[in-house]
Symmetry: C2
Subunit: 212 residues, 2 copies
């Protein structure tokens, strides 16, 4: 069984949001799909360890913000690799309430849903949402998971359905971002990078990197 075959499934990149007693919360989701056309429903798979999972359970609502290829990659670093429990992930990013739910502005579309069903799996809950409101935002192509990995060189959160531990790399020196997992293996040695260099994915400083 060659589990790399699972990488051949195609996904988009979404921020799945909800409310925590009036505070917006959210996390990155890839596993989201339309299920029925009339009524329009979508399903999203969320790991039960994610704080956003608890908030969707409590409010019975979620929204998907659909990221585009030109959406700020820092959104992925912030929403994909930190927890909403202690952090206001929305700080520094524009957002609006659309269809009663928080939606990031730097995106191409949104889909706001009421939970009408769910399926429990070993680690994740698949929430089925009836679409209450949806609309287009900025123009542009959807960011696909393949684009995120191939073009943005992004990593996968340990809580994602698609997480598989990396095989060891060759001898080239690689530095890894503690926050988002971005791997720096550029031509300039890491120590020689300027002090104000920041992670191109999530925006934290050099002090958040460690040698792999």
């Amino acid at each position: 069984m060659d589990q790399t075959a699972l990488f051949k499934l195609s996904y988009g990149v979404y921020i799945c949001t909800s409310w925590d007693e009036g505070r917006p919360v959210g996390c990155i989701a890839n596993s989201a799909m339309q299920i029925t056309s009339a009524p329009a429903t979508v399903a999203v798979s969320i790991n039960r360890v994610n704080y956003t999972h608890k908030c969707i359970e409590e409010t019975g609502h979620f929204a998907l913000t659909v990221l585009g290829e030109k959406s700020d990659p820092k959104l992925i670093g912030t929403f994909g690799f930190r927890s909403s429990k202690d952090l206001d992930k929305f700080e520094g990013f524009g957002y609006n309430v659309r269809g009663k739910l928080p939606v990031l502005d730097d995106a191409i579309a949104y889909i706001s849903c009421k939970v009408i069903g769910k399926m429990e799996t070993p680690t994740h809950t698949v929430f089925l949402g009836e679409v209450l409101d949806c609309g287009n935002l900025k123009k542009g192509k959807p960011m696909t998971y393949a684009y995120y990995h191939e073009v943005l060189k992004g990593k996968t959160s340990v809580n994602a359905p698609t997480f598989i531990e990396d095989a060891p790399k060759g001898e080239k020196e690689v530095w890894v971002c503690d926050v988002c997992g971005y791997e720096y293996d550029g031509e300039i040695p890491f120590e020689a990078l300027p002090d104000d260099w920041v992670c191109p994915l999530c925006g934290v400083g050099k002090e958040h990197f460690h040698r792999k």
Copy 2:
């Protein structure tokens, strides 16, 4: 509510297969995604009117054949717009039994599953499958739903989650394939095309086309 926002979700193109008393059956699916990584599980959404749905219910097994950009578009015409009830869709296409299920050869990967859960929705069942076997086949990029629509100019089956009735087009004469819905609007008038011209998507002759 602008339902075109739902088109911004990203999908691959898969053939979901099963057995009907020893006879291979299958249909096109777009809504498929990995749900958990350990154990590896995937979910697929299948319309209850599809014959393949009945076969998955009865056997408790399904496989996903992952199409690539170079897979024969006739696979989509045959598996997406006809019924397995009366037709051997596999005739003329190579396939092998992998992980106990029929898998088309002209593809980049396969994932064979045992059903371990399901979620009923108004028109579709979301089957949760534990991966029994998976592997890579031909090299190449996965065919995405966007590629299918933009490059292959493909249509959506009325049974698909993503189906929305087309808005009327302009004045250009368009001929539509009865089998797969492919729309011909080329520079050469349809009547002037040679008699042996066939639908570039599903391969049927001119007699299967009607003026839109």
